[in-house]
Amino acid sequence: MSDLSSLAIYLAFVLIIVVALMVVTHLLGERHKARGTGIPYESGMLPTGSARLRFPVDFYLVAMFFVIFDVAAVFLFAWAVAARESGWAGYAAILVFMIESAAGLAYIWKKGAFDWGARRKREHLRKHGYSS
């Protein structure tokens, strides 16, 4: 049962690391609270306004769509590697997958998620519904 001891150690690690991390975060963390502590360092200049500008929400939307459709590609690659071995059954499966992705694409398209350039139009649509 040699793996037993190693796994016991492994489990112990899991516990120790969690505790250690919690302790370390507060040991190493900033502890003083002077007036200037919270102010960002800008080469001696006092910052004007927040550095965190509000991005248009469309950026997040595009990022999200990218993530989703990008991950979908993983399945395509996996299929491509084994395309010959998996034969028609594999082809059918990936076809179904693609159709579903296409349906998703059609949905978000119809919902106007890609009109992010035409800000005005989108605003207009939001006000009056997506009927047009």
Partner: protein, 501 residues
Amino acid sequence: MSSADFLALSPLVLAAGGSIIVLLVSAFAGKRPAPSFAAALVVLALALAAIGLAWSEAPRAVGSLVKIDGFTLFAQALIFATAFLVALASYRYMAPRSGEESGGDSGGEYYFLLLLASLGASILAAATSFVTLFLGLELLSVSLFSLIAFRREKTIGAQAGFMYLILAGASSAFLLFGMALAFMATGSLKTADLAAALVSGTPDILVLASLGLMTVGIGFKLAAVPFHLWTPEVYDAAPTPVTAFIATVSKGAMAVFLVRFFAPSGLASAGAYPWIFAAVAALSMFAGNLLALRERRIKRILAYSSIAHIGYILIAIIAGPGRAAPTVAFYLVAYFAASLGAFAAISALSQGDAEHDGLDSYRGLASRRPGLAAGLALAMLSLAGLPLTAGFMGKFLIFAAGEGAFLWVLAVLLAVNSTISIYYYLRVVSIMYSPAPEAETAAGEAFGEAAGATSGTPRPRSARAFGPAAAVVIVAAVVVIALGIFPGPLIDLIRSLTSGY
């Protein structure tokens, strides 16, 4: 995939394909949710009908991923039927909220998500591999995140959705970690191999650790103590029909999976593991019931009561092969019917803008809406386990299954708890049947003689007479009564379906 495989999977295939169609319908078919609603109902009905097709092929294992057998099909039928009723109960509840507030969306996505969630639950109920377990679970969870947060005009829903998402994510990470360990220990992703490893002599520490970690993911979905903390808040914040879905389908599918997982090996012989389940069952019963005693909001009361009911179901699951499957199957039907009845009644009352949640708003309900009050009262009595209701037979069967010294303690605790639970269920009933504080004159009688009194005062729009949600209340009431008086046919059916367990 052979045609037989295809037939066996036809309910799942239909639900999957149908959900895509519903999605497209929701985007392309105008501004009203009605087309999506109708499409979803059709898809669910077809999926339900396809259970019959699949039955002709059962039992059949499709690869190592899913196994379609009688019990699975029973669970799937239950899931689809419940989803159907939830969709019905949702229609008016969700309708006024879509359209105006959410910038012109049809709100039809709601039904798409509902379909997807029930598909996930059905996969979960059929899973024989960690992959399908995980996929089904996540399909269910991800749809639920969106469903909980569906009402965008209410921040509280989004908050609850986010909370549910993070906790579900973390707990499924634990579940996955457990699966990875099991994969290392057994070299396979089949649940049966882990179960076999569990009972073969002295189990490996890997196997035990993986079970321990997986308990989190399972317990979270079941909302068993100590993984229950999210329940009251999510139940409270989610749209009421979604709450009904969480309380029934989401928990039931996981319970079915558990039964199937432990069916071949026998949990009772698995070392310390049954003790954990026993402890969880006992804690769930007591925590659920005692917390409900102090609660004044009906959805939270039902949340706590659902925790207690999971405790009861866990007792049946521990009962092991031969007993667990039929008992759990019957109990789920009884519990689903009563819960659906209760939540559908709440949905029917909460149409319009005001959520009917505080117990005080139920005062005198019997004179305003006698039918709904009776339906809700019946659901409460069934949840409490009164004779001649389905709940009584369910508890009775669990009790009868709890034979053997180890389970006896639990069975007695069940009886104690069902007695405690009477307090709060009865409180709901007696509040409904006490006069409304403001309308002393109209409060006179609920039973026939009331007709003259109530017709004088105009009803608000929200109290529109009869909607689909009210129909769900009636269906639930009929099931509760029918199973309470004639449980025989259903038990026979369940027994013939679960003969392999």
